[in-house]
Amino acid sequence: MTLAEEVRLLLEQALAVYRDSPRAAAWLRRHRSRLDEPVRVAVAGASRAGKSTAVSALVGEEFVPTGAWAWYRDGTRARAVVGGHEVPIARRDGRAFVDVGDAERVDVEWPARSLRDVVLVDTPADAPVEQVYGEADAVLYLTRHVGSADLRYLRAAHDHPVARAAPVNTVLVLARADEVGGGRIDALSSARLIARRHRREPQVKPLCQQVVALAGLLAAAARTLRDDEFAALTALAAAARVDLEDHLLSADRFVGEDFPVPLPAAARRALVDRFGIFGVRLTTTLIRQGFGTRVQLTGQLVQRSGLAELREAVGAHFTERRDALKARSALLGLDVVLRNENRPGTAALAAGVERVLASAHDFRELRLLAALQAGRVRLPEEQAAEATRLVGGLGTSPAARLGVERLPGDELRPAVLDALGRWRERAADPASDQGARRAAAVVVRSCEGVLAVS
């Protein structure tokens, strides 16, 4: 029985036990239907961290921030629902705008390929951490730079028995990477270095699976680049660098008088609002370097802004782990009911939750990953890296687990068998300590899983 089936069965049993309590039943039914949805990814963070911008970049459409909980799902046509009524989606300065009023929540359906595997939830800045982690299966936590307040938030998120048994579902995003180093032209590579340092930091490592840098403004602008903007940028790039240099020093200068390129001040203001002064500097440089068509430019910007890396992280850690994350959320939800309402069947259900948590291999993999990241399990560096890879720390596809780009089907088996043999030996090696042997056993089981599907 797969993990999803087991969890569904548990929920059915719980519904049978709690059929006389309307509140518990409704709660459980909601969690049952949640199992069939795509992974819900909440975008959380302090105010002005760039949450709405990151959502816009991921969806590929610019939305005006609402200040409410905004749910973005895939749909056949664009529609928005506030409090059960459909409201029109207006256009304001080229951005999609939904009048939320003082409602707490808005549901937006938007036809987009990027929303096929995820439901994105844009959260308000002051949303409580329990609510964010309760509503969502996984969280993108955005911050400008990692401070103690961010670590406190993430620690609070991990403070639950089920959350500890099936740990980590967070990707930390250093949003607004374009502001690093005062907006120098190499700000983004610098931001990536900082993200890499955070990945190794013992305080950050146990709290998230991945740290990525994102220049949200640039990514959103790239995904929604318009013809007139592209024309303006090309015109800028065509001007001599020396002439332009002084006017790219500050945002004020860019919209000021005596501009060497015939662009109206309003157009320049719009451009700098959308791209930021760093974005303008970078795009003009890129066009000069020969990325002269719109497609080339967009591709470069998506790559450089860190959006590609963010998408990969969401793919590897969230969408590919859909079953585990969904099961985790469902078990968390079930746990709430079991704690609050005691019935004759409650103890059996609690034991069921316990059994699934302890035995499901997906959770074991997640636990091992967390233990490796937090340093609770000590393996030699090479082995730790291989173990992380094999249990799906870099993606759960067979190729990602084996650390290769793509493998022809007939070469896959020998590679897996080779890894399997080595880890079997390690699992039985009397010289290593018990933690290491257990870790090796989990890796062996992962290898067997790969073998079974290949």
């Binding site: 005062g182 305080q203 020093l249 945002a251």
Partner: protein
């Protein structure tokens, strides 16, 4: 350029000398020396990544503070005036209090980043800059709120000594709640705060942010000035010599503000202090002269002589009282503050005990060490701040029990500088690991008993000594012995860690306790000296009027008339000097009553 207050002060000193009051003259000379070498500490404060170091660099137009894309500043950097550019790293040592290591100025940033020198306390940079000649010291600090072992405590220790604070926040986002908290905390120690909005070249909507920040400050009830600047533009303007760009960078306004609100304000403060001291000295000079003028007939003169002698006696009687107050209060203070320190460290030790009941010191020792260090430094800083507060209060209380009231009763600068040096590093306890060989041996030792025990029992049943059952029991016994042993070793490690922490806290208590008792003694001594000087002056004044009264009784009429003329002239001179002194201070000194 000599300040106008300097001339007045020199004249007053000369008058004191001619009036035969070397004690007053000496005190004024000390004051003069102190005012001539002012150090104005301006602390650059803020959260990480806001552009603090870059702001300091742009202020002095030189890249002296390390700037980088990641968190870079790890120790406070003091930038002050020097004839030639120089730099040094200051670190603490176990045996000597501090040690200065000179480094080439262009290598300072690299040295700090490399972090080769450990136990660094601060870096010092000297630069020949017009801005710094007035005694301005710019202090770049590590960001507050960085989760890594940031030396936040050192920032707050520096805050206690700051004369002004530049609070840095960048224009890409509004002031956050934590920044407002930090701002309020800074204002509690040092009310002279300017908020600097940096990176306005980068932020498109910095004017909007500026407005919102103004609103926030107003709502929070913080009266601080907000100045938008761009260090990038300023540094570029300095390279290219572009005046328009420099004006755009906002730095001229910031410099003017520093000049006006900090340097000039300090000058006003200096003038006021000088005015108060000089006025008090002059008033003492005037008393005997005026009394000589009022003495006309012999009966009056005799009454005056009696009165003067009565006042001298009374002064002697009452000065015993303030001495008692000072001694009592200081003893109370020392015991209270010491108790507070013990209480704080005891709480830390409790926490250590609690942690090491479960945690294994073999893992995470480094994190623990940082935690302990940070907590101890914080305890020391809080404790020291309290000592300063209390001693100020003691000074006020002693001043109240002083026989007469004067404007300069309360002393300034009785507090010793730089008490917060760090103690020696925490010694890592010996962590014995349970190696495989040891495990094997322990296991064998345990299994031996098992094999023998069950082997003997089963041999009664006719089996050989070594059989399946006895071997199984041997394995079980061996496993249990290994488990027990590793459990015991964990306990031993935990005990060792607790002892190491205890010993470190003891060291800390010993070192800091000594420092703090020294500081308390220093304060007591300064207060005693200060008040006894005042008392001596008072006594001298009274004795002088007693002497003149005696002269008045003894002298004959013609001589007395000549002396009256002289006294009148002298009084005129003193009054003119007093008026000049009054013109110095903004607050009006008490008007000099002339009855002649």
């Amino acid at each position: 350029m000599s300040a106008p207050w300097l001339d007045v002060l020199d004249d007053t000193i000369r008058s004191c000398v001619t009036h035969n009051r070397p004690d007053l003259a000496e005190r004024l000379r000390e004051q003069r020396a102190r005012q001539l070498d002012p150090k104005l500490r301006v602390l650059v404060l803020g959260e990480p990544r806001q552009g603090k170091s870059q702001l300091v660099n742009a202020l002095v137009n030189a890249s002296v503070c390390a700037v980088g894309d990641d968190v870079t500043t790890t120790v406070p950097t003091f930038v002050q005036h020097a004839e030639t550019p120089s730099a040094a790293l200051v670190r603490t040592n176990a045996d000597t209090p501090t040690e200065r290591i000179p480094v080439p100025i262009d290598r300072l940033a690299g040295e700090l980043r490399a972090g080769r020198v450990d136990r660094l306390v601060r870096a010092e940079v000297g630069l020949p800059r017009a801005l710094l000649t007035s005694g301005l010291v710019l202090i770049d600090t590590p960001g507050v709120g960085d989760p890594r072992p940031a030396r936040t405590a050192s920032t707050f220790a520096a805050l206690l000594q700051a004369d002004a604070v530049l609070m840095v926040s960048d224009a890409t986002a509004e002031l956050t709640a934590s920044e407002l908290d930090l701002l309020k905390r800074a204002m509690a120690s040092c009310p002279n705060v300017v908020v600097v909005l940096t990176k306005i070249d980068l932020a498109t909507r910095w004017r909007h942010v500026l407005e919102r920040n103004r609103g926030r400050l107003a709502r929070a009830g913080v009266a601080a000035k907000l100045i938008p600047v761009s260090a990038a533009l300023r540094l570029r303007a300095a390279r290219t010599g572009d005046r328009a760009l420099n004006a755009e960078s906002g730095f001229p306004e910031l410099l003017a503000c520093v000049q006006r609100d900090i340097v000039a304000a300090a000058d006003v403060l200096a003038r006021r202090t000088v005015a108060v001291t000089a006025a008090s000295a002059l008033r003492q000079l005037v008393v005997p002269v005026r009394e000589e003028l009022t003495a006309h007939g012999s009966p009056v003169a005799v009454a005056r002589l009696n009165e003067a002698q009565r006042r001298v006696d009374e002064l002697r009687r009452r000065s015993a009282r303030w001495q008692a107050v000072l001694a009592d209060e200081m003893a109370d203070l020392v015991s209270d503050v010491e108790y507070d320190l013990r209480d704080r460290t005891r709480r830390i030790l409790r926490e250590v005990d609690r942690v090491f009941e479960t945690a294994d010191p073999a893992r995470g020792w480094d994190a623990f060490e940082e935690w302990l260090e940070d907590n101890l430094t914080e305890a020391a800083a809080a404790n020291f701040a309290w000592l300063l507060d209390r001693s100020r209060w003691v000074a006020e209380k002693v001043a109240r029990s002083f026989p007469v009231h004067r404007d300069d009763l309360l002393p300034e600068g009785v507090f010793p500088p730089d008490v917060l040096d760090r103690v020696a590093k925490l010694d890592k306890p010996l962590i014995e690991r349970f190696t495989v060989g040891q495990k094997l041996f322990t296991g064998l030792r345990g299994s031996y008993g098992g094999v023998l025990m069950l082997g003997l029992v089963t041999s009664l049943a006719g089996m050989p000594l070594i059989n399946a059952i006895s071997l199984g029991a041997g394995a079980l016994f061996g496993g249990k012995t290994v488990l027990d042993e590793s459990e015991q070793r964990l306990r031993r490690r935990q005990a060792a860690a607790r002892v190491a922490a205890q010993r470190h806290v003891d060291d800390f208590l010993l070192k800091f306790g000594k420092d703090f008792r020294d500081a308390a003694r220093h304060i007591q001594r300064s207060l005693r000296t200060h008040f006894s000087t005042l008392a001596d002056e008072l006594q001298e004044t009274l004795l002088e009027s007693a002497r003149s009264a005696r002269r008045a009784v003894q002298e004959d009429t013609t001589a007395r008339e000549r002396r009256t003329q002289e006294a009148k002239r002298e009084l005129d001179r003193l009054v003119r000097l007093y008026q000049r002194v009054q013109a110095l201070g903004d607050e009006r000194a008490a008007p000099l009553v002339l009855s002649a």
